[in-house]
């Protein structure tokens, strides 16, 4: 009861956001808004979960997209397995979903035990190394993953509980619910005791240890939760494209997530999501006129980083609070 009372505002915002997202599917026939928003759900979760590491805990990972890709591949491979689908029948999708997240959690825990012992650039490069390891496995294990062609043959999407994910409206609504739920969970974590313990570690891990915090354990838990959230983003993308592709595990995908965070802002909870929307919008708009979207995005990032020295959300919030004063 106390929990609901404490998170009343976040619950309202989540419900209203979900209603708006669902109404887009119901009232706009053209598929573009839905397709665009599903990509926002997917990459938004990647960026928001990465910011749990960077913004909450001060752990700058260069290899976060590995977990996005692992979630997508695990989900696709489980559903492509005929025995799996036969055994679990109509519950194949929810079970594959949960299993993929758990597999990613287990993999990230194994990697995390090694990575969280390191700080700063050493942590960043080790996570990058593990990402490239996964990328190499995906590209070279052609018989399982389809190599650089990606998962071939589509991902079966057997209906469950009246939800048919091969239908674009059903799929969109399903992804909307999952996305809003994940953002809500991240928000709860951000405002929880655990969230503040992460801030202690980010600000001063030595002092945190001297007030009794189990620094490595807390960092590992954060690493695993963030990885599992990224895997949900990957699963949404796999559902959307009915496949999985090795470039999701390439280091540039992690770089793009960092761009999203930098663009929106690291210190505001919703910043990375705004960054995702901006980056994807710029990308889509520029691509109408030119194939050099990366060049334009690069220039914009440079302007934001060098000109504002903070994310756009942080910049505008500061302007507003300054005006109020």
């Amino acid at each position: 009861m106390n929990f609901i009372k404490f998170h009343k505002k976040d619950i309202y915002i989540s419900i209203i956001s979900l209603l708006i997202l669902i109404s887009i599917a119901l009232f706009i026939e053209h598929p573009w808004p839905r397709d665009f928003l599903v990509s926002i759900f997917s990459f938004g979760l990647l960026a928001m979960s990465l910011n749990m590491l960077i913004g909450f805990a001060g752990m700058v990972s260069f290899g976060h997209a590995a977990f996005f890709a692992l979630g997508a591949y695990a989900f696709g491979l489980l559903l492509q397995n005929e025995n799996f689908v036969m055994y679990f029948g109509q519950f194949s999708i929810p079970i594959a979903f949960v299993l993929s997240v758990l597999i990613t959690g287990l993999y990230s825990a194994i990697i995390g035990i090694i990575c969280v012992r390191l700080n700063d650039i050493y942590f960043a490069f080790l996570t990058l190394a593990f990402q490239m390891f996964l990328y190499s496995v995906i590209v070279s294990w052609v018989s399982l993953t389809g190599g650089d062609q990606g998962l071939m043959g589509g991902i079966p999407r057997p209906p469950f509980l009246g939800i048919d994910l091969s239908d674009s409206i059903h799929r969109y609504i399903f992804c909307s619910i999952i996305f809003v739920l994940c953002i809500f969970i991240l928000r709860i974590l951000n405002k929880s005791n655990f969230g503040y313990t992460l801030r202690l570690i980010r600000d001063n891990s030595e002092r945190a240890e001297f007030i009794g915090i189990r620094v490595l354990r807390v960092k590992l838990i954060c690493f695993v939760i963030a990885s599992m959230m990224a895997s949900v983003g990957g699963i949404i993308m796999a559902l959307f494209t009915s496949g999985a592709y090795p470039e999701w595990a390439f280091w540039t995908q992690s770089g793009e997530a960092i761009f999203m965070i930098m663009l929106g802002g690291v210190s505001i909870f919703i910043g990375p999501l705004v960054g995702t929307i901006l980056l994807r919008s710029i990308n889509d708009i520029v691509q109408i006129y030119s194939s050099h979207s990366d060049l334009v995005i690069g220039i914009i990032i440079m302007i934001v980083v060098l000109g504002l020295r903070k994310g756009l959300v942080e910049y505008f919030l500061e302007k507003i609070s300054f005006k109020k004063k």
């Binding site: 404490f6 974590l189 929880s192 005791n193 313990t197 002092r207 009794g212 189990r214």
Partner: protein, 249 residues
């Protein structure tokens, strides 16, 4: 309360702590003094588990805590404030104390428990009262004065309700007025919380005014231990640290 027996620590060829044995009685207020490089902070680091001794034992209320981690030692009851105020710049004063209290209550890893709970807020407000920091409770730790940062650092250690409180140069970097304010804060907290307090200090006026027992280190060795008048008369201490023209207070 705290007993150190024949503790040794070397870094390469440099002997930082040389066979030091010390004891601190329950509820006492003691200081550790000595010239720069005498091994005072090293001794603090050894007691609080930041570094491990090469040999020797550290006993807290009879229990051997020699090779425990800093966290385990904190939980056993040794709190520490640092020479350079070691705080959390992006948190407010109240949040820093709340987070520290959450750690003591064993709820700092609760994933879904709201941080701003009534219980934690009430406890932090009590602590803010004790520290006399209510008026700056919502300021960011990085924005408060150096003196307040040092008091907050002590407050963070106190939030863990330690049996032994160790302060490394609590008045370092302060002006004369701020220094004596800090001294009265330390004395007040010591009496209020009834802790065993050990502090490192360079200001001899402060050391001789408030210490019940003074321990003098030089080149990693303990050269004297006693009350103010004993230390002031000690020939070795005068030669090594105080100087011939030291005027007694």
């Amino acid at each position: 309360m705290l007993n150190i027996k024949n503790i040794n620590k070397s870094f390469g060829g440099v002997v930082a702590t040389n066979n030091v044995s010390l004891s601190f009685e329950e509820g006492s207020l003691s200081s550790i003094i000595g010239p720069n490089g005498a091994g005072k902070t090293t001794l603090f680091n050894l007691i609080t588990g930041k570094i491990k001794p090469d040999s020797g034992e550290i006993l807290l209320a009879g229990e051997n805590i020699t090779n425990l981690s800093p966290r385990e030692i904190v939980l056993k009851g040794i709190g520490r404030a640092f020479q350079i105020a070691n705080i959390f710049p992006t948190l407010t004063v109240k949040e820093a104390l709340m987070a520290s209290l959450a750690s003591r209550l064993g709820i700092s890893e609760k994933l879904f428990k709201p941080f701003y709970s009534k219980d934690l807020q009430n406890k932090s407000e009590e602590l803010l009262d004790t520290l006399e920091m209510n008026d700056i409770s919502d300021d960011l730790c990085s924005n408060i004065s150096h003196g307040d940062q040092k008091v907050l650092d002590i407050g963070l250690a106190l939030s863990l309700e330690p049996k032994v409180l160790m302060l490394d140069e609590p008045t370092a970097g302060m002006g004369p007025e701020e220094r004596w304010q800090m001294v009265s804060t330390i004395e007040r907290l010591w009496k209020l919380k009834n802790v065993t307090l050990i502090f490192i200090e360079h200001d001899m006026d402060i050391v001789f005014k408030i210490s019940q027992k003074i321990n003098v280190l030089r080149y990693g060795s303990l050269i004297a231990s006693g009350n103010s008048s004993e230390i002031k008369k000690n020939k070795e201490v005068i030669d090594a640290y105080l100087g011939e023209d030291f005027e007694s207070i």
